[in-house]
Amino acid sequence: MLEKEERSEVHRRQKAKNWTLLAALVAFIVLVYFVSIVRMGMYSG
């Protein structure tokens, strides 16, 4: 019983880490997108 609880706790933590990693990757993509827009704006102005 205890082992099952531990296992579900580990899965819960793993899931939280996976979501955080996804959020970080999406944030990075958005960041690179806006950096590109800003830098293109600098050269076109």
Partner: protein, 321 residues
């Protein structure tokens, strides 16, 4: 992650390993408290620098400095996990507690370092990126792997790594390294030894137990206190140079003088003190001191924003028009 890695009780310690790590454990690897000082001084360099940087790119530059510093901290924790487990101050970190595996900590640190340096180069400029990479490399290879365990002057030379952020912030705006940004570097470089030795004075037993040759452990308490005073004596005039060189105005200069005198006063008290009471006080004040200096630098950046607000008339008279 494999199913086998989910089966995770450490045989010897009984603590949860690797996959049991919470997101918070990875944040702890980034040494958030140290990061806050790094971000603050980096931002100060960015604001004090002459020129203009798009606010979004400035935010990206600060983010890169923060992430890179945190990543270097994670690699430091990976390398120092053996001594961290011995010292009171560090034994509850994620690695000695077995909550994060060494491999995870190392790959986390290296990945973030690469991302932050590349992003700095692509988004801001390559001078700032090279400085960022150099600062990380210096902290990891020179301080952590070489000096920390081999010489009592570890913190003197290794302190250079923590002195880079304002120079990086400055380079993000100007694209160069010059005398004014070197002075900002020098302020943190000279501040680091008295700051860390004050800590080492009341954590001496910890460092001795872990075999880290901090100055109080190797040279003794009296010699450390003398060195602290010497470094403080050199530091205080250096903190006035931004005013002299025109990086900041007269208000910064006046405040830096007062703060410096207080720091010097504490260094003298530490020297005269038989115990470590004033060392604790000096350690606490050293953090306030550095924060205040760089906050003033931002507020009174050239041509003296604060000075021109309230002191314009009187200062012009005082300085002979």
């Amino acid at each position: 992650m494999t199913d086998t890695s989910i089966d995770i009780k450490a045989e010897t310690t009984g603590v949860v390993l690797a996959d049991g790590a919470r997101v918070g454990d990875f944040i702890a690897l980034l040494k958030p408290r140290v990061m806050s000082l790094v971000v603050f001084t980096g931002l100060a360099g960015l604001i004090a620098a002459p020129g203009h940087l798009h606010p979004f790119l400035a935010a990206v530059a600060v983010l890169c400095i923060a992430v890179s510093a945190g990543a270097a901290g994670a690699i430091n924790m990976w390398y120092d996990r053996d001594i961290d487990a011995i010292m009171e101050r560090t034994k509850s970190r994620p690695l000695p507690m077995g909550r994060v595996s060494p491999d995870e900590a190392l790959s986390f640190g290296v990945t973030l370092t690469l991302f932050s340096v590349m992003l700095m180069g692509l988004a801001v400029n390559w001078t700032a990126a090279v400085l960022l990479a150099f600062a990380s490399g210096f902290y990891v290879f020179v301080y952590t792997m070489w000096l920390k365990r081999s010489t009592p002057h570890n913190i003197v030379i290794g302190g250079a790594a923590g002195a880079f952020p304002p120079m990086i912030g400055w380079a993000a705006v100007t694209g160069s390294v010059d005398l004014q940004s070197s002075i900002l570097f020098l302020i943190i470089f000279m501040w680091t030894p008295p700051h860390f030795w004050a800590l080492a004075l009341f954590r001496e037993g910890d460092y001795a137990k872990a075999g880290v040759p901090m100055l109080p452990v190797v040279a003794g308490i009296a010699a450390t206190k003398r060195q602290m005073l010497l470094y403080t004596l050199v530091l205080v005039p250096i903190t006035l140079l931004p005013s002299v060189l025109g990086t900041a105005g007269i208000v910064y200069g006046l405040a830096a003088t007062l703060l410096g005198l207080r720091f010097l006063h504490l260094a003298v008290k530490v020297l005269r003190d038989d115990g470590v009471r004033y060392a604790k006080q000096m350690f606490g004040f050293s953090i306030v001191y550095l924060f205040a200096l760089f906050a003033l630098l931002m507020l009174d950046r050239a041509p003296g924003v604060l000075s021109n607000l309230g002191f314009n008339g009187s200062m012009q008279i005082g300085l002979g028009g």
